[in-house]
Amino acid sequence: MKAQARRLQRHLPLLVTAGIFVLLFGAASVAYEGFLSLRTLTSLLTDNAFLGIAAVGMTLVIFSGGIDLSVGAVIGFTSIFTATLIERTQVPPGVAWVLALAAGTAMGGGMGALIHFYRLPPFLITLAGLFLARGAAFWINTESVGIGHAVYNRLSAFEVPVGPASLTAGAVVLLAVLVLGYGLAHHTRLGRTLLAMGGSEQSALLMGLPIGAAKVGVYALNGFCGALAGIVATLYTGSGNPSMGVGLELDAIAIVVIGGTLLTGGRGHLVGTILGILIFGTIQAAILFDGRLSSWWMRIVVGGLLLAFVLLQRLLLGRRRT
């Protein structure tokens, strides 16, 4: 009984998040005709594919008690990097993708190494990473570059039919990342090490967990996710744009927090992040459906949700501590 109660309390933020999603989606379905459909749900996945991929990587970083402000800039860099390679230097898309993923991973790993070996604040180093990646993106090209490669045309026509609706390539990648991320976070040694590290780095170290490898690894992984998100963004827009993903890191962090993950690290669940993406997407879709509401309401609602969730966490944790 007691164990059950504790289990319930541990999953309470998750349940609240799920409840809010159902509530929001339900309210939108009642308010807007035609909102309640499979198509809304699939387009929600398509429209938020690159944000979702970034949010999964961000979740893992936040698990470890860190933060990565550079993802948005990495997306911008990857986007223009890939497009320029394909269009200007005639590199086949597959090779361009591999190079972009390698660049993202290397950059993440480099930041992780600085953070770990020199004990520098992740906040500051990833901030430098943001400047670096964004600057590099504009250095490659200040204008957006359209991609007209045959592979891209085929991929943008690619669809997986799901009932009356269909999933695009980006949505499929997002779903794969969600599944992989879930497995990594909750069913591997790395995932447990990250959570332990976020709870108490000292304890994790004393337990003999490979702190260094996990820390460098998680930033490298997030760099990989950022690059992957950038590639998906090129698929989504059919072009590369150096200003892609400006401020996206904040949305990703907001999604993670709305998903019930503690920003101090050590506690959280990837399913929460999935729900966070769905909530974020639902608000966006509802504002689009309404047509009268201006886009800035999105920011205000997300800010309000953030506040509500952080207060809720505070309430639950405060009770636990006393």
Partner: protein, 338 residues
């Protein structure tokens, strides 16, 4: 080992200011070598003109925001919302001036808006004990929405001449914006360093619990730091709107939090809190502005400007890290032995 590290006495502020000052001098020298006209200041219609004057005028906004950020960082926090607060204050100015209200009322309300934003942050951090990054992230996200709501998504042009004077005017031949921003710095320095207040802020940042046991109203001091930061951001919002003669809710104050944090860190204030160097922040903010101006002068596209900034941040952070400083002292000692 951990204990020994934390009980190591903090370096004296004076030596801390030397580094950024040396950097600034180096940058100015570099500019002077590349472009001899860089240091030239001319008197035109009784007003001072020249690149150094321009750096001071354009750097005023960052200087103001960084001043508030210094205190917040000294308490061990950070305020990400300053950019959005700048946009809100600018929006308030534009809306009020457009509807024909007086300058006094407009400025008061704009500053109050910044103060209110700072109070929200202060309550979230000090009363509810939220992590500063999260607490201020909320206002950072929502605040820009509020600013856009205020001006209804438009860029509102401001035509008031006295309002513009605050940013682009001249007083006795000197540009007025650096003058009043400088006055803010002097006042803050006098209030903090010539009373126990500065020490209180540092004590709270160093060890909040110990400062509470010593009888300080730690949470109130912390909250006040955020209120001060919000107020500074509000003032910077006025300055931004006056400078471009418009309220742009989308772009105003964009990335300003990054520049401010950067100025504070370069100026020798530790991100972990417990120490602040107001003069260092001023030097840091000017360093950034000079860097930006230098790149304009070298013909570097503005979009690439972040790259040297990033390199500088990493360099400064490395210099501040224990591992590197141990390595350097070890190197020096070795040389001393032989």
């Amino acid at each position: 080992m951990k204990l020994a590290e934390s009980s190591r006495p903090a370096p004296r502020p004076r030596s801390v200011v030397l580094w950024p000052l040396a950097g600034l001098c180096l940058l100015v020298l570099l500019n002077a070598v590349i472009n001899p006209a860089f240091l030239k200041i001319t008197l035109l219609d009784g007003h001072l003109y020249g690149v150094p004057v321009d750096i001071l005028v354009q750097g005023s906004r960052t200087l103001l925001v960084a001043l508030g950020m210094t205190l917040v960082i000294a308490t061990g926090g950070v305020d990400l919302s300053v950019g959005s607060v700048v946009a809100i204050a600018g929006g308030v100015c534009a809306v009020l001036l457009q509807s024909g209200h007086g300058l006094g009322l407009t400025l008061t309300l704009a500053v109050l808006a910044g103060m209110a934003a700072g109070t929200v942050n202060g309550i979230l951090v000090a009363r509810l004990g939220l992590q500063p990054i999260v607490a201020t992230l909320i206002l950072m996200v929502a605040g820009r929405g509020v600013a856009q709501l205020l001006v209804d998504g438009q860029v509102i042009i401001i035509t008031s001449a006295p309002f513009e004077y605050l940013a682009n005017g001249f007083l006795a031949g000197l540009p007025v914006a650096p003058l009043w921003v400088g006055a803010c710095y002097v006042a803050t320095h006098l209030i903090l360093r010539h009373s126990a207040l500065g020490l209180f802020v540092e004590a709270v940042g160093d060890n909040e619990r110990a400062s509470r046991f010593a009888g300080l109203a730690a949470s109130r001091i912390k909250a006040l730091a955020y209120v001060f930061c919000g107020t500074c951001a509000g003032l910077a919002g006025i300055l931004t709107a006056a400078n471009i003669r418009a309220a742009d809710a989308y772009r105003a104050g964009e990335n300003m939090e990054l520049d401010a944090i950067f100025a504070v860190v370069v100026g020798g204030t530790a991100l972990s809190g417990g120490r602040f160097v107001i003069l260092g922040t001023a030097v840091g903010a000017l360093l950034i502005q000079t860097l930006t101006t230098t790149m304009y002068n070298l013909g570097v596209p503005p979009a690439i400007a972040p790259v040297p900034k990033a390199a500088l941040i990493i360099g400064v952070a490395l210099l501040q890290s224990d591992r590197v400083s141990r390595w350097i002292t070890g190197l020096l000692r070795q040389r001393g032995d032989t």
